[in-house]
C-alpha cells in the first residue's frame, strides 16, 4: 500500500490502492469543482479509462435485463427505513420557527412560553446555539455539500424569508410543533432585494463550476442582422421548489464524540465531511447513513436543518429527529431559480444556422456558487457559424437556489427548442429536418469528437413511433369537438459526467457470493439494482449472488448521486475493484498452474471462476481459490481512474421528444394526449429502471410546462404556496401513456458503455408541449407555466 504524497495524486488505472480516505476525497472534490482534473492526463495516467477496451461494452451479456428494484418489496411492506424512521434511545423531536422577513435583524426573541410548554426539552436560538463554523456550499469547495455558506443560527441577522430563527425540542412532534408556535420574534427590518428586476439590474456574467458562463464565437449580432431568416424572442421560466415525496428529515445522535446521522442525502460522504467541518471534528467522527432516500432530484443535499438538529442535539444532550413539514421544505430547502432568456437564431434559406444567441439573466443568493446555467445545451446541440451564449446573474435575498433535475438545461432547452420551432415555421421546413440539418460533426463549441452520438437515429425512430407528419411551415392542427389538437417536437440534451474519487470494495465469500460496497446513494432510482447487475456481469456471477451496500459514508469512495453521473462513477469503480480482485485471485492460484503469474489483463472471471481470457476452459473456481488459501473471504477496494474521458471526448446524451396536446376551445384547458421520447444515452443497464426514469423526467417536465411554479411574493420574498395543495404538480389524470425508447448504442468511452439517464428526459417535453400548442391553436407561449389563461 502506498500513501500518495501529493494531495491531488490519483491511483493508476486498475491499481489496487487502499488510499487514505481524506486524500481520496480531495481528489474527488477537485473534479466536482470542475477544475483540477479535467485534461490532467499524464504519463502515468492514460488518457483513456480502463473501460475504453472494456469487454462489457462489446459483449454486455445480461446487462439491460429488466430486474425489478431490489428495494421494491421492502418499500411496499414498509420495511425500508427512511431518515425519519430511525430511533435512538431518549430521542426528542425538533420543530423550527421560520423568519417572516427577508432581511434584517432579530430585535427580540421571546422563548418563555415555548420553554414552559408541555414536553419541551430545549429551545435554541442564536443566543444559546453552539458556536459553529459556516458550512461549505456545493461547488465552492471540494467537499462542500451545503446549499449556502451562511453561518447557521450564529447571530441575529436574517437573510431570507423563512430562515430558521429558533429550534424547539420536545418529547413528541406535536408538542414541539405547538411550542414552536409560541416563540415570539420581533425584527428590525432592512431593505431587501426581493424582485427579479431589482436583483438583475446589476447582473454580471455568472461564474459557475469553474468557468464564466459566457461563450462568444464570431459576431453573432451581425450575423443575426444579416440572416435572411431569423427569430429573436424572450422567454421566462419561474422559480420552482423541490417536492420529493419524502420531506427532508434527519435523525441524529452524539455517541461518544461521534455524530451519528440517519440522513436523506444524495452524497453521504460530502454531507458527512461538511458536517464535520461545521462542528470542528474530524470527518472520521461522523457516521452518516442514508440507505433509503425518498426522492432527491438535486435537492437532498445539506441544509440548515441538518446543522440545527445536530447542534440542538449537542446542546440538549439528547438525540433528535427533525422532519421538515412540507412548508418547512419550501422555507429551508431551495429549488430552481427563475430565468429570463433571449433566444435568437439566424439561418440561411437552407436552414443552416448562422447565428445562435442565447443570453439572459437569473438570480442566486450571495452565499452559494450555484447559477442556473441555462445556456448549457446551446453549447453542444447545433452547429452555428456564430454564437453568443451568456448567463448573467443578480443577487437576491431569498432561500438559496439549488440544483433541480437538469439544472440549466431544463429551462434552457425550453427556449432553444421553441425558438427552433419558430425558425422552422419561418423557413417553411419540417422542424425535424431543421434539426438534422444543423446536426454537428464535432462538438460545435469545443471541437472535440463525440464519443458517440446517434441523435439523428433518435429523431427518425421517434418520428416513426409517434407517427410524426412532416410539415413545411403550415400548422397541421385540427379540431375534435371542443378540443383543438396539435403536435410538436423538441430535442433533449444532457451532458455525460463522471466525478472522480469514486471507489468500490468487492468481497468474495467462500459460498461463491459477492458483496459490492460503495458510498453511493439510492434515492429510489435503483442504484443497488443496477450496481448488482454490473458487478454480476463483471464477476461472472449470477445476479442473485451479488449483494450491494451503499448509502454509508464509511463505505468506499466519495460518490454523489447527482448530474446523472453516479452510474458511470460506480461502474468505473466496480471495474477498478474487479481488476484488483483478479490480480489478488491470480496470486492465490496454484503455483506452477496456468493462471499463476498471469497479468490481470490476461485473466477474466466467468461462471464463479478465475479463467484465462484466451481460453476460459482453463479455470479455477473462487471457492477453490479461497479454500486453497485458507480464507473464508477476500476483499479488495479500488478507486476509479480519473475521468479523463471527458477531456478527450465530447460526451453527451441526446434525445427526441414528440407530443400531442389538446387545447379546449372554450376554456383554454390543456391536456397532453400522447408523448414519446427516444433517447441516445449509451447502453441501458436495466430497461425497466430506465423506462421508469425516462417517464418520471417526462412527467416532471410536463409539470414544468403546464402548472408548476413557486409563488415567490416579490413584496417580501416569501413563498406563498408552500404545500401540495397549492403548489401544483401533475396528477395521474394529467399524464398520458408515455412511450419511451432508446438507441441503446454503447458509448465506447463510458464505463460499461452507459452515460447516465437521470435527467435528460426533464429536457424537451416542455418545449414539445409549447410547440404542439402552437400547432393546435396558433399561439406561441414563451412564459412558463402555460396555464389556461394564456391559451383562452
Amino acid at each position: 500500500m502506498t500513501q500518495p504524497s501529493d494531495k491531488h495524486a490519483v491511483p493508476k488505472a486498475g491499481e489496487n490502492l487502499k488510499i487514505d480516505r481524506r486524500e481520496m476525497l480531495a481528489g474527488s472534490a477537485a473534479t466536482i469543482a470542475g477544475v483540477a482534473l479535467s485534461g490532467a492526463a499524464t504519463a502515468e495516467q492514460p488518457a483513456v479509462p480502463v473501460d475504453a477496451r472494456d469487454p462489457l461494452i462489446r459483449t454486455p451479456g445480461n446487462l439491460g435485463a429488466a430486474h425489478s428494484r431490489r428495494d421494491g418489496p421492502l418499500k411496499v411492506r414498509g420495511e425500508a427505513k427512511f431518515a425519519a424512521e430511525h430511533k435512538f434511545p431518549g430521542m426528542v423531536y425538533g420543530a423550527l420557527v421560520f423568519s417572516t422577513i427577508a432581511r434584517g435583524t432579530i430585535r427580540t426573541i421571546d422563548t418563555d412560553a415555548a420553554e414552559a410548554a408541555p414536553g419541551v426539552v430545549f429551545v435554541m436560538t442564536h443566543k444559546n446555539a453552539p458556536r459553529l463554523a459556516p458550512p461549505e456550499p456545493f461547488y465552492a469547495t471540494r467537499t462542500g455539500m451545503a446549499g449556502s455558506s451562511l453561518p447557521v443560527m450564529q447571530d441575529a441577522s436574517v437573510h431570507w424569508n423563512g430562515q430558521p430563527v429558533a429550534v424547539v425540542l420536545a418529547a413528541t412532534q406535536e408538542e414541539a410543533d405547538h411550542a414552536a408556535s409560541l416563540v415570539n420574534v420581533a425584527y428590525d427590518v432592512e431593505d431587501a432585494v426581493t424582485s427579479f428586476e431589482d436583483a438583475t439590474a446589476g447582473a454580471d456574467v455568472a461564474f459557475y463550476a469553474g468557468r464564466d458562463l459566457k461563450y462568444v464565437a464570431g459576431d453573432a449580432e451581425a450575423a443575426l442582422a444579416a440572416a435572411p431568416v431569423s427569430v429573436d424572442r424572450e422567454y421566462s421560466t419561474p422559480q420552482q421548489n423541490h417536492n420529493q415525496i419524502e420531506p427532508h428529515a434527519v435523525t441524529v445522535a452524539w455517541q461518544d464524540g461521534v455524530l451519528r446521522m440517519h440522513d436523506c442525502t444524495q452524497g453521504v460522504d460530502m454531507s458527512a465531511i461538511t458536517m464535520a467541518k461545521v462542528f470542528g471534528i474530524d470527518p472520521s467522527k461522523v457516521h452518516l447513513t442514508a440507505e433509503y432516500v425518498g426522492g432527491g432530484f438535486g435537492g437532498k443535499t445539506l441544509w440548515q436543518y441538518h446543522i440545527l438538529a445536530a447542534a440542538a442535539a449537542q446542546a440538549a444532550g439528547r438525540p433528535v429527529r427533525m422532519t421538515l413539514t412540507r412548508e418547512g421544505v419550501f422555507r429551508v430547502c431551495g429549488g430552481r431559480a427563475p430565468t429570463r432568456q433571449r433566444l435568437a437564431l439566424g439561418a440561411d434559406r437552407d436552414g443552416r444556422l448562422t447565428a445562435l444567441i442565447h443570453t439572459g439573466t437569473t438570480v442566486k443568493i450571495a452565499h452559494n456558487a450555484m447559477t442556473e446555467p441555462f445556456t448549457e445545451a446551446s453549447h453542444h446541440m447545433y452547429q452555428a457559424d456564430s454564437m453568443h451564449l451568456e448567463v448573467r446573474v443578480g443577487i437576491m435575498d431569498m432561500l438559496g437556489n439549488t440544483f433541480m433535475r437538469a439544472p440549466g438545461s431544463a429551462v434552457g432547452t425550453f427556449s432553444l427548442e421553441t425558438a427552433l420551432d419558430e425558425l422552422a415555421e419561418k423557413l417553411g421546413m419540417d422542424p425535424v429536418e431543421l434539426r438534422i440539418r444543423n446536426e454537428p460533426d464535432n462538438n460545435p463549441t469545443t471541437g472535440k469528437p463525440f464519443s458517440q452520438r446517434a441523435l439523428v437515429d433518435a429523431y427518425r425512430e421517434g418520428a416513426r413511433r409517434f407517427g410524426w407528419r412532416p410539415r413545411s411551415g403550415q400548422r397541421l392542427g385540427r379540431r375534435e369537438g371542443e378540443w383543438f389538437v396539435g403536435t410538436g417536437m423538441a430535442s433533449a440534451y444532457y451532458p455525460y459526467k463522471r466525478f472522480g474519487g469514486s471507489a468500490a470494495r468487492i468481497t468474495l465469500t467462500d459460498d461463491g457470493k459477492a458483496l459490492v460496497e460503495t458510498a453511493g446513494a439510492d434515492m429510489g432510482m435503483g442504484t443497488s439494482t443496477a450496481t448488482a447487475a454490473v458487478a454480476a456481469e463483471r464477476l461472472g456471477l449470477p445476479y442473485e449472488d451479488v449483494d450491494v451496500r451503499h448509502g454509508d459514508n464509511k463505505l468506499p469512495g466519495s460518490i454523489i448521486a447527482a448530474a446523472s453521473q453516479q452510474t458511470a462513477a460506480i461502474g468505473a469503480s466496480v471495474a477498478a475493484a474487479h481488476a484488483a480482485l483478479v490480480a489478488e485471485l491470480a496470486a492465490l492460484a496454484p503455483e506452477g498452474g496456468a493462471l499463476r503469474g498471469q497479468p490481470a489483463a490476461a485473466l477474466k472471471t466467468v461462471d464463479g471462476s478465475l479463467a484465462l481470457a484466451a481460453d476460459p476452459s482453463v479455470r479455477i473456481s473462487f471457492a477453490d481459490l479461497l479454500a486453497r488459501s485458507g480464507q473464508t473471504s477476500i476483499s479488495v477496494e479500488a478507486t476509479a481512474p480519473p475521468p479523463t474521458e471527458v477531456s478527450e471526448w465530447s460526451m453527451h446524451s441526446t434525445g427526441a421528444v414528440f407530443c400531442e396536446v389538446k387545447v379546449n376551445a372554450v376554456t383554454g384547458e390543456l391536456r397532453i394526449s400522447r408523448i414519446c421520447g427516444v433517447y441516445d444515452c449509451g447502453r441501458i443497464l436495466n430497461e425497466k429502471l430506465a423506462a421508469s426514469q425516462f417517464r418520471g423526467g417526462i412527467i416532471m417536465s410536463l409539470g414544468m410546462a403546464m402548472m408548476e411554479y413557486a409563488q415567490f411574493d416579490e413584496r417580501n420574498g416569501r413563498i406563498a404556496n408552500p404545500s401540495f395543495g397549492a403548489y401544483y404538480m401533475p396528477s395521474h389524470l394529467d399524464v398520458p401513456e408515455i412511450d419511451v425508447a432508446w438507441t441503446g448504442i454503447p458509448d465506447p468511452q463510458a464505463p460499461t458503455g452507459a452515460r447516465g439517464i437521470g435527467e435528460i428526459s426533464m429536457n424537451g417535453p416542455s418545449a414539445a408541449v409549447a410547440n404542439a400548442i402552437y400547432d393546435a391553436i396558433g399561439k406561441r407561449v414563451r412564459d412558463l407555466p402555460i396555464t389556461l389563461d394564456k391559451l383562452m
Binding site: M707, N716, R718, A720, N721, S731, T787, L788, M792
Partner: protein, 328 residues
C-alpha cells in the same frame, strides 16, 4: 396545534349541549378543521365529533331528498336517487378533492369548509382580515389567481372552495339547523355571508348552531342539469371557475334556468338575474351570452384573476348550450 379535548356526540341534543361551550367546535371528518388546527388558524379546546349523527339519505314526502349532515361526500355522490335526479350534485362532488378525502368528508362539513386562500393559511407570515380582523389583506396585491371576482370586498377576495355547494345551490337546497334556541331552515345560498368589512364572519350560523341535514327539493320535471369545473390541472385542484346549471325547455322556449357559479365568490353564487333573463327566451347562444354577461356584470378583478370573468362567461355559455342541445 393546541391541546384540546375530544368527545363524540351520542345524539343531536347531546351535540348541541356540548357545542354550547364557546371553546367548542363541531368536528365532522376533520378534512379541513384538523388542517386549520395544525396551521394554528383555528384553536378550539373542545371538539365535538358529530359523525355518529344522522348520515341517512331519505326521500321526502314532496319528492325531494333529506340528507343527514354526517353523510359522506362519497355516499351522496353515489346515491342512486342523486345520480338519477340531481346528476349535477353527483358530478360536482366527484370533481372535488380526492377519493380518500371524499370518503371521509361529511356533507355538513363540506358546507362549512373555509377558504383555501394561501395567505389565510400563512399565520406567521401574511396578513389576513379573516384571521385577524383589520390587519389587512395580502391577497389583494399578491397571488390571487384563485380568488374571487363576485361578492368580494376591499377587505377580502377569498372564495368558498366547495364544488358540492355550487350544485346544491342550483337545486335550491336548504339547510336544517339546530341550536340551543331551536331549529330553523335556511336556503343554502343564505348560509354564507359576503365579506364586506367583516370577512371573519363567514356564515349566519349562531354560536353552537349545528347543521343537521341538507334538503333537496324535488328537481324541476324534465329538467337537465350538469356541473362543469375548470381548473389548473385535471384532478385534485380547486375550481378556477365552475358552473352548475339546470335547464328546462318547453315548446322551444326556456321554461326554467338555474345557474350557480363556483370559484368566483365567497359563497356558492346563484346568478339569479341572469336566470331571469333566460326564462321565455329561445335557447340559443345569443341568449346564453346575454345571460352570462349579466351574471358577470358586477365582477371586480385583480391582475391575477382578470381572466376569470371571461372564462366564466365562456363556460356558462358552453354549459347552457350543451344542456339545451341535450334537451332538444
Amino acid at each position: 396545534m393546541i391541546p384540546f379535548s375530544y368527545n363524540k356526540a351520542k345524539s343531536e341534543p347531546d351535540a348541541i349541549a356540548r357545542g354550547a361551550d364557546t371553546a367548542a367546535r363541531f368536528l365532522g371528518a376533520g378534512t379541513n378543521l384538523v388542517d386549520l388546527m395544525r396551521e394554528g388558524i383555528e384553536s378550539p379546546t373542545v371538539l365535538v365529533d358529530v359523525t355518529d349523527l344522522s348520515n341517512r339519505i331519505e326521500e321526502t314526502d314532496d319528492g325531494g331528498l333529506m340528507i343527514g349532515a354526517a353523510a359522506s361526500n362519497t355516499a351522496l355522490a353515489e346515491n342512486a336517487a342523486v345520480r338519477e335526479r340531481y346528476p349535477a350534485v353527483s358530478r360536482s362532488i366527484l370533481s372535488g378533492a380526492s377519493a380518500q378525502i371524499r370518503n371521509m368528508a361529511t356533507v355538513g362539513g363540506n358546507i362549512l369548509q373555509r377558504t383555501r386562500c394561501t395567505y389565510f393559511y400563512d399565520v406567521e407570515g401574511a396578513r389576513c382580515n379573516k384571521r385577524q380582523p383589520g390587519e389587512g389583506c395580502d391577497a389583494i396585491d399578491g397571488f390571487n389567481r384563485g380568488h374571487g371576482v363576485l361578492g368580494v370586498s376591499p377587505a377580502c377576495i377569498a372564495t368558498h372552495p366547495s364544488d358540492m355547494c355550487v350544485a346544491l345551490a342550483a337545486f335550491d337546497a336548504t339547510v336544517h339547523l339546530a341550536g340551543a334556541d331551536g331549529r330553523r331552515v335556511l336556503p343554502l345560498t343564505d348560509i354564507h355571508r359576503l365579506p364586506g368589512d367583516t370577512p371573519h364572519v363567514e356564515t349566519v350560523l349562531t354560536p353552537g348552531e349545528l347543521i343537521t341535514a341538507i334538503e333537496l327539493p324535488a328537481p324541476p320535471v324534465d329538467a337537465r342539469s350538469t356541473y362543469r369545473k375548470v381548473r389548473d390541472r385535471a384532478s385534485y385542484a380547486f375550481a378556477l371557475i365552475s358552473v352548475a346549471a339546470v335547464l328546462r325547455l318547453n315548446d322551444g322556449r326556456i321554461a326554467d334556468a338555474r345557474i350557480a357559479l363556483g370559484g368566483v365568490a365567497p359563497k356558492p353564487w346563484r346568478a339569479r338575474e341572469a336566470e331571469a333573463t333566460l326564462v321565455g327566451a329561445a335557447p340559443d347562444d345569443a341568449a346564453f351570452a346575454r345571460a352570462a354577461d349579466i351574471a358577470l356584470s358586477g365582477a371586480a378583478t385583480r391582475p391575477g384573476n382578470a381572466f376569470k370573468p371571461e372564462l366564466a362567461r365562456r363556460t356558462i355559455v358552453a354549459v347552457l348550450h350543451d344542456l339545451a342541445g341535450a334537451s332538444r
